[in-house]
């Protein structure tokens, strides 16, 4: 059974009088434990699509099921609760909380969203910091580490609650090539270890090659699906 099912998914923005059709009738399925990338030129609708899958926004029409939940109709609070339980987020600008240490940033979703008991919390945080190679920097604050290190911490934060799905909108756009590959490698490794589904968007053609399944978006429509054998 697939983790994500989209059928005839559309999103139209109203910009004053003019309508912007950001997504036009997309249909696709994404299996559990897959490593998927959406590529396409600027304005093709990647962010819009990831926002819909991430329950941050509602589609204008069509069906969207994530882990057997119809997310197209979730209201603010249930949507927040769903995100907190099922989805991890990685952002282009890392978005770590500046007043929290690396350790506390990774622990944030457990503490503030899932109310995990402290023993369990400590175990999870340390094992993820270990996995992304940031254990020895756990007491540093975000402004004391590099961009690549920040994104590794962000990966650990996205995974700490053991979500079904991790969404990353252009996670490597602010990183140099070498660091970008390293972060993608870590994501891949975690996918293999934990069976988490990763969906990321990018317009970096070289990074795209790292994905198992590559969807190409053009002008709000699916223009291609490519499967890589890695």
């Amino acid at each position: 059974m697939s983790l994500i099912t989209a059928h005839d998914l559309s999103k139209t923005y109203l910009k004053g009088e003019t309508k912007v059709e950001a997504l036009k009738g997309l249909s696709f399925e994404i299996e559990p434990a897959s490593f998927v990338s959406f590529v396409g030129p600027s304005g093709s609708g990647k962010t819009t699509l990831l926002n819909l899958i991430g329950c941050l926004d509602k589609p204008t029409s069509g069906v969207l099921r994530v882990d057997d939940t119809d997310v197209s109709s979730l209201n603010t609070r249930p949507a927040a609760a769903f995100r907190g339980r099922k989805i991890g987020f990685i952002f282009q600008d890392f978005n770590l909380i500046p007043v929290l240490t690396v350790y506390e940033n990774v622990g944030y979703p457990l503490l503030m969203v899932q109310n995990t008991p402290s023993r369990e919390r400590k175990k999870r945080i340390l094992s993820l910091l270990e996995a992304v190679g940031m254990a020895e920097k756990k007491n540093k604050y975000p402004d004391q580490i590099s961009g690549g290190q920040k994104q590794r911490v962000a990966v650990a934060r996205a995974l700490v609650t053991n979500p079904k799905l991790v969404l990353a909108d252009e996670p490597t756009a602010n990183l140099d090539h070498k660091t970008a590959y390293m972060v993608i490698d870590i994501m891949k490794k975690m996918k293999n270890e934990l069976g988490t589904t990763f969906i990321f968007s990018t317009h970096d053609q070289k990074i795209v090659g790292e994905a198992e399944t590559i969807y190409t978006l053009e002008d709000g429509e699916l223009a291609g699906r490519e499967v890589n054998n890695v």
Partner: protein, 412 residues
């Protein structure tokens, strides 16, 4: 909860200068209010004490209509022995009464054999009077600290004007309620310092001398002054006395007696009320300062952290938790401000208290101001500051909790 406080405090420390400024502003406000309350309060209490303890008493009872014509000291409105008996019975039933004093008040002529002027005199029983107005004796500037028969305590201004000294012989002449004039020689027993308010410049003689001058067959008392064990019970006792005496009607079917608290008898009450009103407005100003400064900081805090709010909201932090985060930040500011302000305020008050400030009021010189503040006032002010701080954070915190994560994340 603990973690929310930790995050709030770290965020406050992140903008150290601004936090310091806000906390200083709030605490300066708290200090000013505490110092104002303590000084104005101690001034008020000391003045009330001065007035009630030096001549007025806490409560007074007269025959109905006496107070409204008190300027003429009408002997026709004195209490008959039967009426007096009823009043004394009512007073004696109240355990909160410490002491009471019966006074015969009258106006007469005062002569030093060269000049004559008019004088207002109280005929009192010295023991009762001193128990009822304990500061009376301390007002005797010259002469023995007592009131003996055959002696008169002369108010200082009168003594000065008439050039009489302790030991001089003077004559007091008065007309009694039947219109017959009588005079009596007195020795000046003491010179009496003036006190603030009507009655503060009256002279004193022994009650027996008063009865003699006025040729009373039976004592006709003008006024009964009452002192309570606990000043705070003045309204309680007032209600009780009034209730008990309300049933005593005169021939016209109206109440025969009137009871007044010091508030109705001394114009200082209006000054006291002004002080209370000023205190109220000073508190109101403090609340306005707290409201504006905390709200300002919290609006800034939310605005600066829109992307962070977007991040934690996207991750799945529920709106209630985001609301709580910002409320706790405002709460912490309020707590710091109140705490620092209280510490500094109490320190300032003890310094002022140790400095032994004195002031003059009317003809009373060198009154010692000993400002103090009670724990209730401190708690009340602190609670108000903290509550207003949370209230000031409500709107910004609510706004933060309602933010759409997509818009917030896109914010630059």
């Amino acid at each position: 909860m603990f973690d929310l406080f930790k995050i709030a405090i770290r965020n406050l420390l992140r903008y150290r200068r601004r936090t310091l400024l806000t906390v200083s502003l709030v605490s300066i406000g708290v200090v000013s209010v505490l110092v104002f309350i303590s000084i104005s309060g101690s001034f008020k209490n000391m003045m009330i004490g001065q007035i009630t303890d030096s001549f007025l008493g806490h409560l007074q009872i007269h025959k109905k209509g006496y107070v409204s014509s008190i300027d003429s000291l009408p002997l026709t409105l004195n209490l008959s022995p039967k009426a007096l008996e009823k009043v004394e019975k009512a007073i004696n039933e109240i355990p909160d009464v410490e002491a009471y004093s019966k006074r015969i008040k009258f106006g007469g002529m005062f002569s030093n054999f060269v000049e004559t002027t008019n004088v207002r005199l109280n005929g009192v029983n010295p023991e009762d009077e001193v128990k009822t107005v304990p500061l009376l004796l301390s007002r005797i500037k010259e002469g023995a600290k007592t009131i003996r028969t055959g002696e008169v305590l002369v108010p200082e201004l009168l003594a000065k004007g008439m050039k009489v000294k302790v030991g001089d012989t003077v004559v007091v002449i008065a007309t009694n309620s039947n219109g017959s004039v009588n005079g009596k020689q007195f020795r000046v027993g003491g010179i009496l310092e003036s006190a603030t308010g009507p009655g503060g410049r009256d002279g004193y003689i022994h009650i027996d001398d008063a009865a003699e001058i006025l040729r009373m067959d039976t004592m006709a008392i003008s006024e009964i002054a009452i002192r309570l064990k606990n000043f705070d019970k003045v309204h309680e006792v007032f209600d009780r006395l009034k209730g008990q005496l309300a049933n005593e009607l005169n021939k016209q079917g109206k109440p025969a007696f009137e009871v007044h608290t010091w508030e109705k008898l001394s114009p200082f009450y209006n000054i006291a009320r002004m002080i209370d009103l000023m205190t109220f407005f000073v508190k109101l100003m403090l609340m306005a300062i707290v409201l504006i400064s905390i709200m300002n900081v919290m609006v800034m805090a939310v605005y600066e952290r829109i992307r962070e709010i977007g991040t934690i909201a996207a991750i799945g932090t529920l709106p209630g938790k985001i609301l709580a985060m910002f409320l706790i930040e405002g709460l912490s500011l309020g707590i710091f401000g109140a705490a620092v302000g209280t510490v500094l305020g109490v320190a300032t008050i003890s310094i002022v208290s140790m400095a032994k400030l004195t002031f003059d009021f009317g003809r009373q010189k060198g009154l010692l101001l000993s400002p103090s503040i009670n724990i209730q006032d401190i708690l009340l002010i602190s609670m108000m500051v903290i509550t207003v701080s949370v209230m000031a954070s409500l709107q910004p915190a609510y706004k933060a909790s309602r933010m759409n994560p997509i818009d917030a994340l896109r914010h630059v």
